[in-house]
Every structure is written in C-alpha cells, then in structure tokens.
Amino acid sequence: MVLAGIGAGLAVIGAGLGIGKIGGSAMDAIARQPEAAGKIQTAMIIAAALIEGVALFAVVVALIA
C-alpha cells in the first residue's frame, strides 16, 4: 500500500514536470506569436494528453499492486 503510494507519487512528479514544461513552452510560444495561439493550444493539449497517458499507466499499476 505504502509502496504503491510512493510509486504513484513518483509518476505524478514525472508527469508534473513534463506537463509543466509543455505549459511553460506553450506560454512562451504564445507570447512570441499570439496569432498562432489556437494551433499552439491544440498541440499543447495533445502533448499533455500523451504524457498524462504514461502517468496514468503508472497510476493503474499502483492501483493494481
């Protein structure tokens, strides 16, 4: 139970760093080119969703364990 919690926590740290990086970069990109905001947002959400997918695999493993 405790180990599963630690595992889920580690997965969350990784996903948090990844999504944070994407969000930060998207902000930079929008600040540079506000007219491309729509396209950047779509790409940002796709990338965030893919990272989240990996994190969720880890969470499911933690749930099963």
Binding site: I46, A49, L50, E52, G53, V54, L56, F57, V59
Partner: protein, 380 residues
C-alpha cells in the same frame, strides 16, 4: 408529436412518473419475512452503534456500479430506486427486482428464483452453493469467477444512466433538427447553443486532424462520442437521483468507447497505414521480427491510453469530491463543513472543466488516430 416538442418537460414528467417505483425497504410481504427481518434489524442496530465511519467503503460504493439506485437513508432504512436484475442462469433467463436482495451485499441474504438460490456479494451475484466453496480472495475478484455465477445482464445504475443520457441526447438533437427545418436562417434557442459546439468539433478537431477531403465521413462518429462523453461526465457530477452515477469513470464503459475508436481506426486504415506496420519504409527487412510486434503493440496502446485516461480522470475527480465530503464525518464535527463545502464547490467547478476537456481530448485523439490511418504519404 407533442412530447418531443418539449424535451425538458417530457424528461421532468418521466422522472415524476418513475417516483412510484421508489419503494421503501422492508415492505411487509409476508409474516415470515417480517420476523426474520426484525431479528436482522435488531442485530443491525447493535452493530451500527459500534460501527465507525469508513470513508474507503463509502467512496467505493459511490463510484462503483450497483443493482439498485440508492437515494438516501431515512430513519435507518435505505430508500432506493429498484432496477431490474436480468440473469442468464443455468435454467435460462431470469428477471426480478433488485429489491429481493434487501440491500445485502455480504452474501447473507439468499434469494430463491425458480428453485435456484442466489446470493449477492459486493454487487456480484453468485449461486449460493458455489459461493460457499469460494475463498475470500476469489470472492473479491468475483467478477471473474465465471463458473460460480450467472451471466449478469442487469439494468444497473450505470446502464440506467447510459439509457437516460441517450434519451436526453436524442430528444435534444431531435429538437435541434426540427428547429433547423422550421427556421433555416440563423439558429435560435437550443440550436444556437449547440451549433458552435458542432462547428467546433468540425473545424478544430476533425478538419485539421483527418484532412479536408476525408473528415466528413467521420463527423457523425466524432460528434457522437464528444456529446455522449460530455453529457455523461456532467451527469456524473449532479449529486442526486436520477443522475450521479459514475458512468464515464467505469472502466468497462471507457473500454467500449476506446474499442470502437480502435475498430474505426483499424477498418479505415489504408495501404500506407498497414504498410507502415508490416513493412516500415526505410527499415531493413531483417529487423521485421522486432518492428512488426512493436508496431502492433503501438496500435493497441493508443486506444488503451484513451480508455485509462477517461476512466482515471473521472474516477479521480469523484474520489476527491467524496473524500472532501467524508472529512466532515471523519472529524465528526460541523465546524469542518464550511471548509469542506467550499473545497467541494471548487472541485465541482473544476470537474465541470475536466468534463468538457476529457470529452474534447477523447474526440481529438480519436480524430488524430483516424487521421493517421487515412493519411496518404508521398513515397520518394
């Protein structure tokens, strides 16, 4: 038809019409029943005083599926909306009300259906004689003990909610279609609310990801999953009957949704899509024994991630809200309730955003996968 002109009124009328089905538990059916129940009740009360509040149990029962729709407890008696239990047993089809289980989920109350004795343990129905031979571990994983239980096709809480959302969507879009027929100019009313969403799915999801030429064929599917997931996410956030079921946080439901996306992607895959899987361009042929399995696993992980994403996001949201409510009962004081209530409000508003976002992400990724399958590559 008068009914479908006023979908909301019709829905309300339907809900009111269902009220007679809401029975109180422990109806005095016959005298023998009453006596056994009175004894059981006495034991139950004695146990109740010692019983501590168990947040895990409460949360699990709220996010899980159930044979009856539990509404409230009144004076120690549960008030429920009893849904039909439909079983395929060894003797064929059996249909009866979930009221017969008397809210028992511990495998104690035996239900006799045409000579077959059934018990229910944690929302899984077993044959009584086979249930007694199972170990504790096997009982917990009861859903997979296929030889010890009949096939369960019951209209459970989630199925009920799914049927209801289908009817809501059907009436909603029927009303929209009718308003376009009557009024071919600028949309009014409900059509004016839904048209921007439909054009959003078309212009922001389907067109850029599938391509200008082919997107039209996939629009019905994308719109269906978008609105279906969205409305079910929202229904799960409404905390009272007949809503509140955790349908999109049910792994079987999300599995089916992801599986349909997988089927659509696989069957619309063109020559290039299959070529990239079985004969990846630019890769030497002797690498095929490694590349082909990897590509096939890649085909399967994409819908798998779709399934887990929706399931985990919605379930996590429900667990957080229920945990915040449980805090009041864990600390056992009213003083916590304003803080907990404020957090629940905040989380609920956040969950409304997540509800729309997850419907969007599911549709967007489905469109992306379909787009990959139908894309035509230039070979040099």
């Amino acid at each position: 038809m008068v009914i479908s002109n006023k979908p909301l009124q019709f829905l309300f009328a339907a809900i009111v019409a269902c009220i007679p089905f809401v029975g109180f538990a422990n109806p005095a059916v016959d005298s023998t029943h009453v006596t056994t129940e009175a004894v059981a009740e006495h034991h139950g009360e004695a146990a109740h005083e010692e019983k501590e509040f168990n947040a895990t149990e409460l949360i699990n029962s709220h996010i899980g599926d159930a044979h009856e729709f539990h509404i409230a407890d009144w004076g120690g008696h549960p008030i429920s909306f009893y849904l039909p239990v439909i079983l395929w047993t060894n003797n064929g089809l059996e249909i009866f009300s979930s009221e017969k289980f008397h809210h028992d989920n511990e495998g104690h109350h035996v239900v006799d259906v045409n000579g077959q004795e059934l018990v229910r343990y944690k929302e899984v129905i077993f044959y009584k004689d086979k249930f007694e031979t199972l170990t504790e571990e096997e009982r917990k994983n009861g859903a997979f003990a296929f030889d010890a239980r009949p096939l369960d096709f019951s209209i459970t809480k989630n199925v009920f909610s799914m049927l209801m959302s289908t009817i809501i969507l059907f009436l909603l879009f029927l009303a929209v279609a009718r308003s376009y027929k009557k009024n071919p100019k600028a949309p009014k009313g409900i059509a004016g609310f839904l048209e921007p969403l439909v054009t959003f799915v078309r212009d922001e999801i389907a067109r850029p990801n599938i391509g200008e030429k082919k997107y039209g064929k996939y629009m019905p599917y994308l719109l269906t999953i978008f609105f279906f997931i969205w409305i079910n996410n929202l229904i799960g956030l409404i905390p009272f009957f007949p809503f509140s079921s955790n349908l999109t946080g049910n792994i079987y439901f999300t599995f089916v949704m992801a599986f349909i996306t997988f089927l659509v992607t696989t069957f619309s895959g063109n020559k290039d899509y299959w070529g990239h899987i079985f004969n990846t361009p630019g890769v030497p042929f002797w690498l095929a024994p490694i590349m082909v399995p990897v590509e096939i696993i890649g085909m399967l992980t994409k819908p798998f991630a779709l399934m887990i994403r929706l399931f985990a996001n919605i379930t996590a949201g429900h667990i957080i809200i229920l945990s915040l409510v449980s805090l009041i009962f864990i600390f056992d004081t009213v003083a916590v309730s304003p803080i907990s209530g404020a957090f629940v409000l905040f989380m609920s508003v956040l969950e409304m955003l997540v509800a729309a976002l997850q419907a969007y992400v599911f549709t967007l990724l489905s469109a992306l996968f379909i787009g990959q399958a139908v894309a035509e590559h230039d070979h040099h």
